[in-house]
Symmetry: C2
């Protein structure tokens, strides 16, 4: 029988890749024949974490049905964020911490979602429920995922459970959370050498809102100005992306990981839904959002509501 493929969302971040590795490892310990794969290349932050803990980046796939009948999803459930042919395979289980939408199955399945900051926090719980402990490297990549998703516990998505899980994993992984964490986050903020297209695609997700298709990308930086020096180039690439992929609206969330603020760049229509969502006026297609660092908690629900 073909291996069961385990993967996170498209444009994988450290949780999408880390949770896939950790959940696949857990399934193997339970006797399942699984392989962690990814729906895209690891970014620099993720690669830093993989290298640090001496793990191999998962093989990249774009389709699943050609090689297996069964899959397990981590860190996502919405079909438009999943593998292209997700409707053609059987989803055996999902572990996730996002809203549920545009998801359906023909049969009952395992679905484990909790409103915590990171999928890997839930996966640590699953290890414990099975009476198992993740190995050092696995604990390291799970810790990296929590640091990444919670921006070192500064995101409003971060819960006490995430902090507790991170502490527990840091002990197993033998690292100091703050020293390692800041080093890892900074590894992901090297934006200068990247084309606008690459930058916009690093951590981007699509959401149906009302009858529109909204693309929301997020990049982390330690210097907002450095990113907005390239505003014209970014706007052009966003307009092109809208055109090519039939997005109605493209929202880029540029997050300063040191100050825990973000600035938006908006291309497409209806841009007034963005103004309404955050009670701001766009100026030169931009708006500063004080204290906003979480797409999931501080951007997607507000925009979704605004489109109602």
């Amino acid at each position: 029988m073909a291996k069961i493929l385990v993967f996170g969302h498209q444009n994988p971040d450290t949780d999408a890749i880390g949770a896939a590795i950790a959940f696949s490892e857990l399934q193997q310990q339970k006797g399942q024949d699984t392989e962690a794969v990814a729906l895209g290349e690891a970014g620099e932050e993720t690669q830093f974490a993989l290298d640090y803990f001496d793990l191999k980046a998962p093989r990249v796939i774009t389709k699943a049905a050609s090689e297996t009948t069964d899959v397990m999803l981590v860190d996502h459930n919405e079909f438009q964020q999943s593998v292209a042919d997700i409707a053609e395979v059987t989803i055996l289980s999902v572990v996730d911490h996002h809203r549920i939408a545009n998801f359906e199955t023909a049969d009952p399945l395992y679905y484990r979602a909790e409103p915590v900051g990171c999928t890997s926090t839930i996966i640590l719980k699953l290890y414990k429920e099975a009476g198992l402990t993740p190995a050092k490297a696995i604990a390291g990549i799970m810790l990296s995922a929590i640091i990444s998703d919670t921006l070192l516990f500064k995101s409003p998505t971060c819960t006490q459970e995430d902090i507790d899980a991170a502490k527990e994993l840091a002990k197993i992984a033998e690292v100091d959370i703050n020293t390692y964490g800041l080093e890892m986050l900074k590894a992901g903020t090297n934006l200068k050498d990247k084309s606008a297209d690459v930058l916009l695609d690093m951590d981007a997700k699509s959401f149906p809102m009302g009858d529109k298709s909204v693309r929301i990308a997020q990049v982390n930086t330690v210097d907002l100005q450095e990113v907005f020096d390239r505003q014209a180039e970014l706007e052009e690439a966003m307009a092109k992306a809208n055109d090519t992929n039939n997005y109605d609206l493209f929202v880029l969330l540029v997050t300063n990981i040191l100050d825990s603020d973000s600035e938006l760049l908006v291309v497409g229509e209806p841009a007034e839904k963005v103004e309404k969502a955050f009670n701001v006026a766009l100026d030169n297609h931009r708006a500063f959002l004080k204290g906003v660092v979480s797409r999931k908690k501080q951007v997607v629900p507000q925009l979704t509501e605004s489109f109602k």
Copy 2:
């Protein structure tokens, strides 16, 4: 703040009501202010179980938003099987053992699904994870739900986990599973005194399939002939229900709980999808399905596939 309402699906069976009672009780022990309610009156089987364990039937509601903002769902997720105004309230958590479809939230939530025979089996696991044990009466109604959903372990939906959970609960509830179970199941098979409308509505669910709306009702009996003596009356009521509720197809599954077989009665179109699904020819709108007792595992997936 208003109480959080906990409820199972419309036309509640013993699991819909039992799981709501047990999950609400667990949430209260965890410090939440919850109330178990139901989306319909308890049937005779459920009432037998409630009486046996000296529990009160949950209050019946038809809407939720007028009295609360937050709900918890058990034993269902599909919106068309839930409270009428489900889209107007926040779903905090779901515990279920069905496929996921026609379900979405704006925010992350707790979602716990496992492909076992009964929601109450999962809820026993949640008690244990919280380091708690259900009280005698709660264990009794959870056991009743497992017996009901698995037809005393004879349904193909029944897993080893359901059997183990039932044994554990029977000890706490201090009953003999087989003696109590058969007595409870028989209490639900008194169909003679019921009008066709009542009979068709006792355990019925609606499913969107392709672009059609399919209603699938199930009744348990110890005598198939007794039910089909009323075939003309049933067909008339099914046609009327199709008309009134815009169902395209009404399928009645009459299950003999002693022999573990079922006979179908089909009214509406496209009836040929039923023939294709089960590889049978309808004769006088009827078809005998040997070994079929589970709507969820032996009817819904096959029909869904047939509509593709």
